[in-house]
Chain length 770, copies 2
Amino acid sequence: MIETATLPTIPNSPGVASVLPFLYIAWADGLLTPTQIELIKTQIKAQDWLSKEERVQLCGWLDPTNPPDATTYYRWVRAIKEAARDIPDVSNLPLAELGHRMAGIANVGGSTEEATRALHDIEAELGIVGHEAVRELVVQRPETDVRDEVEQVDVESVKSVLDGRLASLRDRLRTLLSDPAFTYPDTETPKDEMREIVLGWTQLLANQGIGALAYPKYAGGKGDIEQFIASFEMIAYHDLNLAIKFGVQFGLFGGSIRALGSNEQKRKYLPDAGSLALPGCFAMTELGHGSNVRDLKTTATYDLSAKEFVVQTPTEHDHKEWIGNAAKHGRMATVFAQLVIGEQSYGVHAFLVPLRDDQGIPMPGIRIADSGHKLGLNGIDNGRIWFDDVRIPRDNLLARFAQVSADGTYSSPIPSSSRRFFTMLGTLVGGRIAVASGGLSAAKSALTIAVRYGAKRRQFGPSDRPEVPILDYLSHQRRLLPHVATCYALNFALHDLAQRYGQTPEGGDLRQIEAEAAALKAMSTAHATASIQESREACGGEGYRAENRFAHLKADSDIFTTFEGDNTVLLLQAAKSLMSGYQQEFSNLDFFGLLGKLGEQVDFRLGGVNPIKRHQSSTRHLLDPELHAELFQDRERDLLISASRRLKGRIDDGMDSFDAFIDVQDHLLTLANAYAQRLVLQSFQAAVDVIEDVTVSDLMGKVCALFALWQVEKDRGWFLEQHYIDAAKAKAIRAEVNTLLRELRVYAVGLVDAFGIPDELLAAPIAVRG
Amino acid sequence: MIETATLPTIPNSPGVASVLPFLYIAWADGLLTPTQIELIKTQIKAQDWLSKEERVQLCGWLDPTNPPDATTYYRWVRAIKEAARDIPDVSNLPLAELGHRMAGIANVGGSTEEATRALHDIEAELGIVGHEAVRELVVQRPETDVRDEVEQVDVESVKSVLDGRLASLRDRLRTLLSDPAFTYPDTETPKDEMREIVLGWTQLLANQGIGALAYPKYAGGKGDIEQFIASFEMIAYHDLNLAIKFGVQFGLFGGSIRALGSNEQKRKYLPDAGSLALPGCFAMTELGHGSNVRDLKTTATYDLSAKEFVVQTPTEHDHKEWIGNAAKHGRMATVFAQLVIGEQSYGVHAFLVPLRDDQGIPMPGIRIADSGHKLGLNGIDNGRIWFDDVRIPRDNLLARFAQVSADGTYSSPIPSSSRRFFTMLGTLVGGRIAVASGGLSAAKSALTIAVRYGAKRRQFGPSDRPEVPILDYLSHQRRLLPHVATCYALNFALHDLAQRYGQTPEGGDLRQIEAEAAALKAMSTAHATASIQESREACGGEGYRAENRFAHLKADSDIFTTFEGDNTVLLLQAAKSLMSGYQQEFSNLDFFGLLGKLGEQVDFRLGGVNPIKRHQSSTRHLLDPELHAELFQDRERDLLISASRRLKGRIDDGMDSFDAFIDVQDHLLTLANAYAQRLVLQSFQAAVDVIEDVTVSDLMGKVCALFALWQVEKDRGWFLEQHYIDAAKAKAIRAEVNTLLRELRVYAVGLVDAFGIPDELLAAPIAVRG
């Protein structure tokens, strides 16, 4: 029981009552400057309808250097609040009118009309929004919601558009991963324990035949790499450790045998790889050779007398590094090494090297160290491997692209060691598409959490309404919704790419798919990093709580921009591919074979930009998909030609092609990003075109327009520089983006619901007060 | 011992020998397209100087559908390599010339002149850079460095410029934090253990008097908040957990007593706060009230009979959240609550509330829960606190800005509850400056690691030189060096701000400092997040290793963009402050008092942009600091006026000021960012102006120019839209940025060395091969 104290009441002077709202405003919230307070004082002194005593008292309360005491102030506040109870529609009154009414209640005599006019004059001179000040004071802000501006989205229809032709496989994985067997462990689970949990989950996936999907039937699979990539994408909704463990075992280790092995080797190893009976590694990266794999140092030398390969790590620093499955679980590894026969090196080849025996003891000559604690993905047992005089049978050379006969004769369907190497790497491009898709899933998870939170979490608001959901803020919409639109765009582009990759016949030309995969992997994983970060920040402190997933999403996805190809290197390679019309082998960064093709690009004449179109900025025009396609295509073509010119000019002037390449790298990166965005827009627009349901198609069209215009807004510096748009159009585009954001705001929750991420995988929904 | 196999040698035909380089190039590396191979074949068929047999054999090797076998290919390679040994200056020869010499070695007869001319023609038509192809083949790439393009930077001089007037304090902390007592624990140290280690470190700092620096002498301090902030900045080089623990105890808990307490309260509590004898908390944030503190829910009601305040958490969801020191170590808390006397609420006030007794048992009515595992900062014991009928003495109201007498009479030097609240918050602005400075330290740590790594790590390169350090890549320079320049810029701006804050007399107007602190805190912490991410990615996989610091830097700094004010909210507040000419109280997001000031802004006439200047793009002009200052100032002023117009237009049309505010948020954020950048550039330029050493001054001038032009390049869309620059100038600016990057490349390591981060605090330097 708390005993209360009360405030003394205010003297019942009608003149004072009519000026009270101004007294309040003078001292409240720093609304008025000292000069403005003086202004009120001067006005009051001149009011004849106030008595002399009233004027003296009022002016005493309007001395900027000597504020009234707190008790007096609170008496005004109470008097206004009490009077307001009896005044209808009080929250829409100007200050002067409120004062007038209060004076009436206080039973004022004298010229109220004169008084009111004077008060109105004062209010106008102060230049404040009086009725909002009144509202702030007298209206109790409601706690509960008064409006719920959410439009229903046909979530199932949108989801089926996103899921595409593999919808049933995706749903199967959603159900599987929601099973209690996949319940997340405590967020503080130590590394060693986490590794075993992730291994257990991987075994469950293997038991369901998910790991073997890309393998032939005899290995329990369906020979369908597209399904394998789709599975990886869904698994990434659950846990990125699991996705990577799954990818290492079935995609990299098993996948290398699938892509590089002879039929005999596939029959021998793939069933055990797919069932996880043979846990394996993909040992390519060395400490000094991540991006430049062609120059890696490990050797496999053919010993003619023993008919064996001898695998050797030349120096202490040339060990294999960051090899998944190596520190603990791997029994065998696909090891990439320079094949040497006699004095001749034949370039990088892949060899199957047993790592551990059945008891898990490393084989003779093999030394393994734990890569240790990492920024993320601590459920993966990355390790370092050194080979010292490790002997393996001649049959362990993966034999699809090269064989060594017993007498040491080398043969290959591809004569050039470089071309052979790039062809071998090309067959592994599925891993890159998978990583791009997994990054996209991580982004979708983060945005789902953040958009749902933003629709519930309230902070600040106008005085007479509840605090507003923070997703009502334009600033919040700008930080989240374009990323949601980009998820949609990438979703279609990556599904397209996986499908075309899956449909490429064995031995078919993969160079264009490689270039696209490189560009999209870079775009998707950079987008993941950016949108997970935005989402965490958009959830404020609650986003920092480990159980809310951002900790894992951030840490575990961070390396996606680096592995399966460093994003910067990939973009440079994609640019090179583009400049050669996809004729160049991928993965190398020399340019000396490019000149001929560059000449063709340079000779291409750019058409002028239509000056009317440059200025056109009606909503209809700005939302036209053809405009978006055109801007994206023009940008890419223009950048391709200008980059070719700059590169060729330097080489013609005698610059080494590598130095010339370095000199124009900023240009090449811009080109590659424009290329990625064009690919993605193209897929998104094509997907929208075939939607039959008009409501869904309209909504998707808007999301696609948001993606396109947002990119143009971000890159408007370039479009302005090249005169594709003028200043007025640039501003109109920004305004149109804002309009789209406001329109899509009400669909936002539905748009992320349509990603179809099971609640179990989003873990604890973020707490919101009340 | 490995027994070797050998390759059969190639037939010694001079005609074939002369064409060998072309055969090699046709099949190597995918350099030629099938069409180009056909071209060679056609040419060869026409060469009379070749015998018919030679032509048949050569054409057989030039069938795109039927490549030569691998053995043949390797024989060519070996033949070229062997011949090359006897040819001087072989690596600069065109293919044709190489062929000619090889034929000579093979003792060719016939018309070598005709042959050579024909080969030259073929080479020209192929459009490849022949001598580079030769070099790639015959030159063994050297492993060790042949050039070491690093310029000496006078690191000590630059460091002393950066350290400024508190250099000796900074050096003292560098020495202290390098002491073995501050050695990092294992990166996998569990949360509970880490909390105790961090507490121990904090005690060591307290023992040195560092925690009390801002307190009066009687509390062991120097009354110097600038020194306190500088210490925080240095501690953040060591560990962000320690910095935050230090900040919570001495800055927030002790600092709230220092800023809000009466002299008596300071004497009573500050000595124990500064020595860590009394570990404390700063309990402001509630689950539902992070940014909007003024509306928080906890109440402190005065009980007249008991002469006590009763602290109460109204509902389960109104608990204090994320309170540092609460879960484990805190004994007392500064609790922010709505003060209620009788029926009247007087707004938010701060109260000292004992949390635990000497044994660490929570006091009656206090319930504490651990906030649990977080994304980062797991060395901080964040907790939740609920108060149920918790009674504290009347004296525990922090009494500088408000007192309650025994009979329940409230008094305050500031009558308005809002203004009082904002004034109270204003006194705590030091925390915001400290967090901005700590974020900057984290960015400097990350960039130091990444730049040093980039200067050592090599990958790819021209064929005749060692692989190049990745910092030689323009793309790598663009990702790191502008961030280094931004660190320099922020360094000067934050030191300036801390100094001016420290020099503000007690009771002085802090509104401009608050606005600057908000803008710089947002800029510095966003920059930290971005540059730590860039740095991690720039170190590739090695950046992912936990011991290389990025794991901690990323995770622990992540929340810096949220706490001490959410960055978006801070930027909006700073924009509001600017629009009111710093006359508005900070921290609130209503705008209804702003109209008068908006009117002034709107009436301001913009001068036209000089069309000559818009186009001017000489290097001298582009590097002129006056140009930079002008562009930054013009942008801020222009955005201020246009934002004011848009806001006023909406309010004049009858829109609620809050809705109008939401409607122009993108504009306000742009304004606030422009404001922050102008402040930072101004400080940086002023700092460069007073450097006496010409070499240092020149170097700093370039770093400053890089910062300025980089920002203009990034924001060139805006500058183009508003016609401050034209397209040609925009392109010239980008070119100038690239030139500056190339120039500064050789100073890069020196520039980060000058941050002066002790090696001990950078932990393990990243491994580089060899």
